[in-house]
């Protein structure tokens, strides 16, 4: 079975991933997706009946810590804002998402 990916599908995924993609790149990505999905399709031939999935390999469970603030590693406001492109009176400025 080959996986046919349309540029419309690519644009839909791009929207979900919040990444702007133009039409020529969408074409290139569609080809790349098809190639990738083609390489991984043989997985379905492996018998996984009754096999449990592995989500992590450490075997550790429920690693918890006390819910206490560690002041020694808390950013100051200046540090937290140091890499922000735009700030306003000590806040991050975010793009408007609700129309006026």
């Amino acid at each position: 079975m080959s996986n046919k990916i349309t540029t419309q599908q690519v644009q839909h995924i791009a929207q979900l991933a919040n990444i702007p993609v133009d039409d020529s790149e969408a074409k290139k990505l569609a080809t790349g997706f098809e190639e990738t999905l083609d390489t991984i399709k043989d997985l379905r031939a492996v018998d996984t009946e009754g096999i449990e999935p592995t989500h992590q390999v450490t075997g550790m469970e429920n690693v918890l810590r006390e819910d206490i603030v560690d002041d020694s590693r808390t950013f100051t406001q200046a540090e937290a804002l140091a890499n922000a492109k735009e700030t306003y009176q000590g806040f991050f400025v975010v793009p408007r998402i609700i129309k006026k």
Partner: protein, 457 residues
């Protein structure tokens, strides 16, 4: 030319006062000035002076190169993507904090495939790195800059990260030693996340001995990374210069299509273990082609989630700055995790992952260490990765089974082609938290063959 010393040699000579740190650093600096422009190894040079505290700690302020996906306080960290073009971390990743405490001085930040997505450094948005052994060729990746920094003596040792091949494959291509620790042995805190269930920070060095020394300082439990193990960190240098008589070594993957170019050379090198008193058997393991599918699905899925944080609001540029390969991986992960497809792809992959883990458990009942070629061949020529979306996965196929199982592995040089000066690597894999075994057997191989260019000048 003190930059050509190994970490261990430099430590010994400093101790005996045969050399000074100032002379060593000026040799490293002039080598960087001479070579970095062409090789494109370092993206950022650390201008900070070595501190008294570093000099009086065990690593004595010696110059260590660091892959540019480790957050380094007050030192630009880009992960080779223009999304993080101006990102200055306000904290150190745990491994970097440990390195500094041990007296390692960061000489600079090395190039990688952008976000560590790749096996060539060609996806770096700051240009590819060239292989110092032969500049018509690539260094491999994603830790290509760190491997090249070691190969070109632009540092004494370096740090890389591996998700599936990113330490061992460039080490193989550059003729250096790459040690990928067990998942959870070294903290991921502060490392730009790629695939959280397999990301493993580790050393790239000139010798097995140097990699063991570095691992001693960077390994260990971290309360900021819940997946790190509380298992005690050993002194890994204890396992150097050991007798391997009676050890059982299983050889994998020599019959796989695509290995014809190197098969005979590799089989010849494996015989070294027999001369050293170990038993060597050629055995069958689960088909590594299946690991490509498992890894590709898991990695793309975890990438799509991890790279969701880059919104250009708190730091970095917005998402339009992602390069083609990052877009490719984020979006494929978005697709395979989406409703209706997650079962078909992600859940199946996690089940086959279980099968690989069970296969290794079975093999380790009979063998102490499993060996295979690190890469299906020599370093590839520049431009190779641009032709295929799956270039890296095919290149790393022999490493992906051990990566998805979380196992420790080391790549040691096992051949040099006299015509091209390019190297082959041998990958040694052991059970979880048995770094001691790969160090012991890797060190024995290195010291009884002529392929390590620092041991056999």
């Amino acid at each position: 030319m003190l930059n050509t010393l190994t970490l261990k040699q430099a430590l010994d000579k400093l101790e005996k006062k045969e050399i000074t740190l100032g002379d060593l650093n000026s040799d490293v600096k002039s080598a960087i000035e001479k070579l970095n422009k062409d090789l494109n190894v370092y993206l950022t040079i650390n201008e900070k002076k070595i501190t008294q505290a570093e000099m009086s700690a065990p690593l004595a302020g010696l110059p260590i190169a660091v892959k540019d996906n480790y957050c380094t306080k007050d030192l630009k960290t880009t992960a080779s993507s223009t999304v993080l073009d101006n990102f200055i971390p306000q904290y150190d990743s745990t491994v970097i904090a440990k390195l500094k405490k041990a007296g390692g001085h960061i000489v600079g930040k090395t190039n990688l495939d952008a976000w560590a997505h790749g096996s060539s450094t060609e996806t770096s948005q700051y240009g590819r790195t060239l292989n110092p052994r032969n500049t018509d060729y690539l260094p491999g990746g994603s830790s290509g800059g760190s491997a090249a920094a070691v190969a070109a003596d632009l540092c004494l040792a370096s740090l890389g990260t591996e998700t599936a091949g990113s330490i061992r494959q460039p080490s193989s291509w550059c003729g250096v030693v790459g040690l990928k620790p067990t998942y959870g042995r070294c903290s991921r805190y502060g490392v730009v996340a790629m695939a959280s269930s397999t990301d493993s920070p580790g050393p790239i060095a000139k010798t097995v001995e140097d990699s063991a020394i570095l691992l001693n300082y960077i390994a260990g439990h971290d309360k900021y990374d819940g997946t790190t193990s509380t298992q005690k960190v050993e002194d890994y240098t204890k396992y150097l210069d050991q007798n391997i008589t009676g050890m059982k070594i299983g050889v994998l993957y020599t019959d796989i299509e695509g290995l014809e170019e190197i098969k005979e050379i590799f089989i010849d090198q494996v015989k070294v273990f027999e001369k050293l008193g170990a038993t060597v058997e050629f055995i069958k393991a689960m088909d590594p082609h299946h690991a490509i599918g498992v890894y590709t699905i898991i990695q793309r899925g975890e990438v799509s989630s991890n790279l969701g944080r880059f919104d250009g609001i708190r730091y970095g540029n917005d998402r339009s700055f992602f390069g083609h390969e990052a877009k490719n991986r984020i979006m494929l992960g978005t697709y395979t995790l989406s409703k209706g497809y997650a079962h078909q792809y992600y859940n199946t992959a996690q089940k086959v992952r279980t099968l690989f883990i069970e296969d290794y458990k079975k093999l380790f009942k009979d063998y102490d260490v499993l060996v295979s070629p690190t890469s299906p061949g020599y370093a590839k020529k520049i431009g190779i990765s641009e032709s295929s979306a799956m270039f890296g996965e095919l290149e790393d196929m022999l490493l992906e089974p051990s990566s998805i199982a979380g196992l420790p592995g080391i790549s040691v040089p096992c051949y040099r082609d006299p015509k091209t000066n390019l190297y082959l690597g041998m990958n040694l894999v052991a059970p979880m938290f048995r770094e001691d075994l790969v160090i012991k057997v890797g060190d024995a191989f290195e010291k009884n063959t002529k392929w390590n260019s620092w041991r056999n000048k």
